[in-house]
């Protein structure tokens, strides 16, 4: 406990203050949003780097992760609707990685207890690419992928 405290104190006054306030219950749920943002993962330039940065290592393929109602073709890569549902028990988090994007890691969601392990959102895709759903369940990592083609419509419409 002593060591941890020293480490926390060493890492900067801001973090300590935050921790103290959190412990004292002075922070509302909204304030908790000023929490960690995994810079290393979000700035990773390769799929492997991104997966490793979120702690994934070598995830196992899983047929229990599904892309639900996610179209094979996106008319415009600026908005690609993706819904990922995990049937893996004790799903803790779901992350979306887009292989050919300059920003590979699109998002990571913490599935808190009581929340269904299914997330719908919209991502940007620079070009046709494999999209990976990386799920952490019961401490282990799993992955599934889907190819989504991106096309530009013509003019109009």
């Amino acid at each position: 406990m002593q060591n941890t405290r020293r480490q926390v104190l060493k890492s900067g006054g801001g973090l300590t203050l935050f921790a103290l306030l959190a412990a004292a219950g002075w922070l509302k749920p909204g304030d908790a949003a000023a929490q960690a943002w995994n810079k290393g993962a979000f700035e990773a330039k390769s799929l492997d780097e991104a997966v490793k940065a979120v702690g994934g290592g070598t995830p196992a393929q899983s047929k229990d992760i599904a892309f639900v109602a996610t179209p094979d073709i996106a008319e415009n890569g600026a908005v690609v609707p993706i819904t990922i549902a995990s049937a893996l028990p004790k799903t803790e988090s779901i992350a979306i990685l887009i292989e050919k994007n300059p920003n590979i890691l699109a998002a990571s969601f913490d599935i808190l207890p009581g929340t269904e392990p299914s997330i719908g959102t919209r991502v940007k895709m620079g070009q046709s690419s494999n999209v990976y759903a990386l799920v952490k369940a019961d401490g282990k990592y799993y992955v599934a992928s889907k190819e989504i083609k991106v096309t530009l419509g013509g003019c109009g419409g």
Partner: protein, 103 residues
Amino acid sequence: MADPMKIRANVVGDSTEVKVLMSHEMETGQRKDAQGKTIPAWFIQNVTVAHNGKPVLNAQWGPAIAKNPFLSFKFKGGAKGDKIEITWVDSRGEKRTDEAVIA
């Protein structure tokens, strides 16, 4: 001050379905303006959703989330009249919190 979010929260069976639309540029930092200068990245980094004060979802986002982001998910429980509070914080440190009531 950013535009308010549009939050819809509905009871579906024994769960609550939350759908939210946020107003945000989600600038990637890849684009250039008419003069050829790179438009700096500016995007939502953290999202938290709370039900009656209890967090139900935390998310970390990168600029690959689409502009004017949409998010949809479900959690067990929740009753009509309960409060849903959603907060986002972006890469400039700006934040926005909006509330809705479960219908």
